[in-house]
């Protein structure tokens, strides 16, 4: 008999700003809805280990989606996307999980995202208070201004190997080599320009400096967790985000990098299971 993975996949149509997007998602488990947002230039495959985790699935209905323009969520056919530079904005990005939750009739889901998804967790808590039961920000921070020229991330003479190599370098050396390579592999498969376009949100459009204090954690509790080896959104930056929000918590994750859920899933669950237990115990 065939051995199946726990996750099943399907498509849902989301209407955002008058455009219809065919969005792919995979789900596993039952219980409290838990939306899972991938990192920039990647896709929902990063959550495959979490989706397989029976200890999470026992209490949570996990939903890992591919953002439009990523992996199986192909660009909308009603837009001449090939005539314009792809650029992810905060406004559009926030609408994706909010619309997805509404279309799937999810009852106050938990939101967990990593990197751009970690930033988004904080933005959702700030700009959509109470819509989400809790927001978990992995590798999130107040802001992450670009530290160097990003033009090589979308350049005709530079292949996807550059993005893969760069992302391999932001994993922790202690993480299992096979999973570090798989993390990089996913980065080698994004469409040209999408990673760089996502970084518009990461580097420019996300900035909670001076605003984070308005997050009401009685409506949406905020949990911030950051890997020790994340040189992009560092533990110091994650701690600063949590410190700016009354009631938010921060935890550093020793021995992990920028992709905790996929570079070292066994280590990651040590940090995330207590957070999910705490969320589950909340009224």
């Amino acid at each position: 008999m065939a051995r199946f993975d726990a996750a099943t996949g399907r498509y849902v149509y989301l209407a955002i700003d008058g455009v219809e997007y065919r969005v792919y998602f995979e789900e596993a488990g039952a219980g409290i809805p838990l939306l899972l947002q991938h990192t920039a230039g990647a896709d929902g495959r990063q959550w495959r280990h979490v989706l397989e985790d029976a200890d999470v699935g026992r209490h949570f209905r996990m939903i890992a989606y591919d953002l439009p323009y990523h992996a199986k969520s192909v660009p909308p056919s009603a837009v001449e996307w090939w005539t314009e530079e792809y650029r992810l904005t905060r406004d559009f990005f926030m609408k994706v999980p909010v619309t997805l939750a509404a279309e799937l009739a999810l009852d106050r889901p938990v939101f967990m995202g990593c990197s751009i998804g970690g930033h988004l967790a904080a933005d959702l808590a700030c700009y959509h208070p109470g819509v989400f039961r809790a927001a978990i920000s992995l590798e999130g921070s107040l802001c992450t201004p670009a530290r160097r020229d990003l033009s090589f991330l979308h350049h005709p003479r530079i292949s996807n190997e550059y993005r893969a190599g760069l992302m391999y370098g932001i994993t922790a050396p202690q993480s299992p080599e096979a999973f570090r390579r798989e993390t990089a592999w996913i980065y080698s498969q994004g469409a040209p320009g999408v990673f760089k376009g996502d970084l518009h949100y990461y580097n420019v459009d996300h900035d909670l400096t001076g605003i984070a204090a308005t997050i009401d954690t009685t409506k949406t509790p905020l949990y911030v967790l950051t890997g020790e080896y994340d040189w992009s959104s560092t533990p110091t930056m994650g701690r600063a985000l949590a410190a700016a929000v009354r009631g938010a918590t921060f935890r550093a994750m020793p021995g992990l990098g920028h992709f905790p859920m996929c570079e070292n899933p066994a280590r990651f669950r040590e940090y995330i299971l207590p957070v999910l237990d705490e969320i589950r115990a909340r009224p």
Binding site: R157, I158, E161, Y162, A164, L166, G169, E228, W231
Partner: protein
């Protein structure tokens, strides 16, 4: 400090299957420099044509400059946080300087990372890495 024995590094790199795939079609000269010495690696069509000690500051396609302690941390068996990567980690957080043809470095970032991984393994095998 000596970053690697040039002869052993050349033979190790040329025998490394991942480097050979990542470095295909690459022509470049790399200069890996500490304040007192440099390791000069010439790559021709994806193979190491020569590897030798030289003086710092010589023209190269790509130069990486760091203090001795920076190189020691970078080449440690298990690098401390942010020493695990050149551009994002060492340059942004630990004062490494990279100069030259950034397009070439970006296009061959995987090959460069593999070169450093082999250097790290050599240091471990000779007891030079902490």
């Amino acid at each position: 400090m000596q970053l690697a024995d040039p002869t052993r590094l050349q033979s190790s790199i040329d025998a490394d299957p991942e480097f050979r795939m990542a470095a295909r079609y690459w022509n470049a000269t790399l200069s890996l420099e500490s304040p007192s010495r440099a390791l000069r690696i010439e790559i021709a069509d994806g193979r190491v044509a020569s590897c030798r000690e030289s003086a710092p500051g010589q023209p190269a396609t790509i130069s990486v400059v760091a203090p001795d302690d920076g190189w020691a941390q970078f080449l440690a068996a298990v690098p401390r946080p942010f020493y695990q990567d050149l551009l994002g980690g060492c340059v942004q957080h630990h004062g490494f300087q990279v100069a030259g043809d950034m397009l070439s470095l970006s296009a061959y970032y995987q090959a460069t990372a593999r070169l450093f991984a082999v250097m790290r393994a050599l240091r471990v095998s000779t007891g030079g890495a902490r």
